[in-house]
């Protein structure tokens, strides 16, 4: 994790140097939206954001990101994977998080990237404080994120098997 911004193109290029056997690269970039993401109870709110502050728990964040990456590598054949998560005060349009996966198989690259993002959202110790004209507001965890993360807790021996059930 870092306070500094990242360059998606440069990170992909760097990862490609070390993954020459991979034909498939998937990236996920999360950025600060211009409007509030709505409340956990489903009520819509269109507050225009002035900033988003990401608080984190430094020691645990590092451990968690490492554990999540190890888990992804144990589940899918990845030549490379990268997680970058920023913290601090970020303005709308700013990068928050970048996940990149590289695999010989595109389904593996996609699934591993989704897994990493789902786990990041539900396990990595980050908290978002939205700032708008109405003041600061801690973003509430969403049930849909828990549900998304739960997809991966059923035994999933590999991409093909997982998809078969879909």
């Amino acid at each position: 994790m870092q306070a500094e911004d990242f360059d998606v193109g440069a990170e992909i290029a760097a990862l490609r140097q070390g993954a020459t056997g991979s034909g498939a690269f998937v990236t996920f970039t999360g950025i600060v939206r211009e409007y509030s993401s709505g409340r956990a109870d489903g009520a819509t709110s269109d507050k225009q954001l002035t900033a988003m502050t990401l608080e984190h728990y430094p020691g645990m964040t590092a451990r968690t990101l490492e554990a999540i990456e190890v888990e992804a590598r144990s589940r899918w054949p990845l030549d490379a994977c990268l997680i970058v998560h920023r913290y601090g005060r970020l303005e709308p349009g700013a990068n928050i998080v970048l996940v990149i996966t590289a695999s010989p198989h595109r389904l593996a690259a996609f699934e591993a990237a989704e897994f990493l993002v789902d786990w990041l959202k539900t396990k990595a110790p980050f908290w978002k404080l939205e700032e708008s004209g109405a003041g600061g507001h801690w973003v509430e965890a969403k049930a849909i994120d828990d549900k998304a993360a739960d997809r991966w807790t059923v035994a999933a021996p590999g991409p093909a098997q997982h998809r078969k059930a879909g």
């Binding site: 999360g30 990401l54 608080e55 984190h56 728990y57 020691g59 645990m60 451990r63 998560h85 928050i96 998080v97 993002v117 990041l120 959202k121 539900t122 396990k123 990595a124 110790p125 980050f126 908290w127 978002k128 404080l129 801690w138 973003v139 509430e140 965890a141 994120d145």
Partner: protein, 83 residues
């Protein structure tokens, strides 16, 4: 024992962390939360709904029955919202 607080839990308690020495019978996460809550004020406010309180002991998630010992780093925070 070192306690650390994050996000709105930190705001309600009013400090980012502190060293505490709970009574000898406080040996689990659940007991520690009840002991803190009984302090009242910001603690009672922060811990009034334990369904939205997550705990990590020595930087690993821990349930209510997990042991806590002198020297542990115990973190209290709301469900995470990164990513």
């Amino acid at each position: 024992m070192k306690l650390v607080y994050f996000a709105w839990l930190r705001e309600r308690v009013g400090i980012p962390g502190e060293s505490v020495t709970p009574p000898a019978d406080v040996t689990t996460v659940g007991a520690l939360l009840q002991w803190l809550k009984a302090r009242g004020g910001g603690y009672a406010e922060a811990l009034k709904d334990l369904s939205v309180v997550r705990v990590a002991v020595n930087q690993e998630y821990a349930g209510p029955d997990a042991p806590v010992r002198p020297g542990d780093e115990v973190a209290l925070f709301p469900p995470v919202t990164g990513g």
